[in-house]
Amino acid sequence: MINVEHIRNDFPILKTHISKYPLVYFDNAATTQKPISVINRISDYYSNENSNIHRGAHYLSQKATEAYENARKTLQKFLNAENSHEIIFTRGTTESINLVASSFAKKFLNQDDEVLISAMEHHSNIVPWQLVCEEKSAHLKVIPMDENGELIMDKLDSLLTEKTKIFAITHVSNSLGTINPIKEIIKKAHAKNIPVLIDGAQAVSHLKVDVQELDCDFYCMSAHKIYGPMGVGVLYGKEKWLEKMPPYQGGGEMIKDVTFEKTTFNELPFKFEAGTPNVAGVLGLEAAIQFVQKTGIENIANVEDELLHYAYGKLQKFEKIRFIGNAKNRASLISFVFEDIHPYDAGTILDKLGIAVRTGHHCAQPVMDFFGIPGTIRASFSVYNTKEEIDIFIKALEKVREMFG
């Protein structure tokens, strides 16, 4: 069991008040708050270690390089990658997906080929694929979902064809909370030799991820959704793919030799890390992973699941509430609408009462179109949230109903 009060003390921002109301932060699917260990790590780096890495032979540069490369090993262990050079640091999930879309497509996508995604993707796992499909005159295919927000798995076989070059799918839906059966999906795709990219942005803070056990070809995550800083993320890629893929961006760090006639590229992982990286961010991410490991991902999931069920029970009592996404297997977020109240109106009043939830289309417009709604109210819970906060949230929603209902 974990002591939530103790954990809350680690997060300075949770003491914030919004005018006279204590902050209730239920927008964790957008970004989680940061523990003091992460904040201190970033500050320590700039106070004591700041230097450019992989370059100078001087003391600080060596120290910074060592810290950066240790962080890579921490991430390797966290995702259970076979090799540390399969961990590429990026700006976040979006860049990780763009890197694969761009670089993989350059080499492996041709005219009339297909890229498969799902109907519940975030825009960042739709648009990069659309762009490369357009460039290569390839086609984007979509596996549909049902009214509960679950993938229609029966359709999978017919959508995975000899034309499918890659299947990109989210582990956990950011707008519905659905946890997709990715292990089964990967198995089916691999039976037809189709590589699979997993968007893990919403998953890593809630589920134990083992890329070798999943056997995924690519796995993408953001630091800021797992208690780490913004502007940093990870791309895990199997060595066999990363070796074959051309560089994504050119610059320093990613080269071996440069002449005006020809450049030879550095080996993995540096081939994909052009320019000076966000060293402080990577070290902050490492501290965030250590926070998760110390707390225990199972413990975190247990707290979050309990909050989810508690909130769900309370919300069901409201009139005219419609839950968007009723998947059996789900992460700790609830998306809903009141049939007679616009999400923007509800969100504005909740904000005035000190409650941070996300309202709108959650960068998943196709999902909103599917359900025929302009957006939802999304409450997403994290390990530092409490039942008392959910009670405050429920009271605030009663106020919303009183004002608009």
Binding site: S19, D345, T348, G360, P374, G375, M403, F404
Partner: protein, 142 residues
């Protein structure tokens, strides 16, 4: 009345409220009471799309003055839309183009014009000025 006089009138009305709840209840009431845009203008070409809420805006020129009607799918947005129209409708194009509105800030609703809200209001104000500019050009060419 001039734009500035109407702005002042609204500011005085809002001074009566001492807490945010009364203020928002009033905006919601305005949103409920506002005269809706004619159905033929509730179409894609009049739509100002926001991430969170949407606004439909129509403008016509009537005896040298711009007449606006508008609507929104969210009540709070609609209430603020109502205030914006009250200030800018029935004014000359020149006057609309050259006047900077500051009443929204003074009545404490500035947050609804922040880019993160993306409720269509910022673009609505821009669009109102663009209509005025278009009408001005049209009048000059006549």
């Amino acid at each position: 009345m001039t734009i500035k006089e109407i702005e002042q009138e609204i500011i005085s009305e809002f001074e009566m409220f001492d807490d945010w709840l009364d203020k928002y209840n009033y905006i919601i009431e305005l949103g409920k009471s506002v005269q809706e845009i004619a159905p033929q203008y509730k179409e894609q070409q009049y739509l100002i799309k926001g991430c969170q809420s949407q606004v439909w805006l129509h403008a016509k020129l009537d005896e040298g003055k711009v007449v606006f009607t508008a609507d929104s799918d969210a009540l709070i947005t609609k209430g603020i839309v109502h205030l914006l129209i009250r200030v800018l409708t029935n004014q000359t194009p020149d006057y609309i183009i050259n006047t900077e509105l500051d009443f929204i800030e003074k009545i404490g609703l500035k947050e609804h014009l922040s880019p993160t809200r993306s409720n269509g209001l910022v673009n609505m104000i821009k669009q109102m000025k663009l209509y005025a500019l278009a009408f001005k050009t049209k009048m000059q060419n006549q």
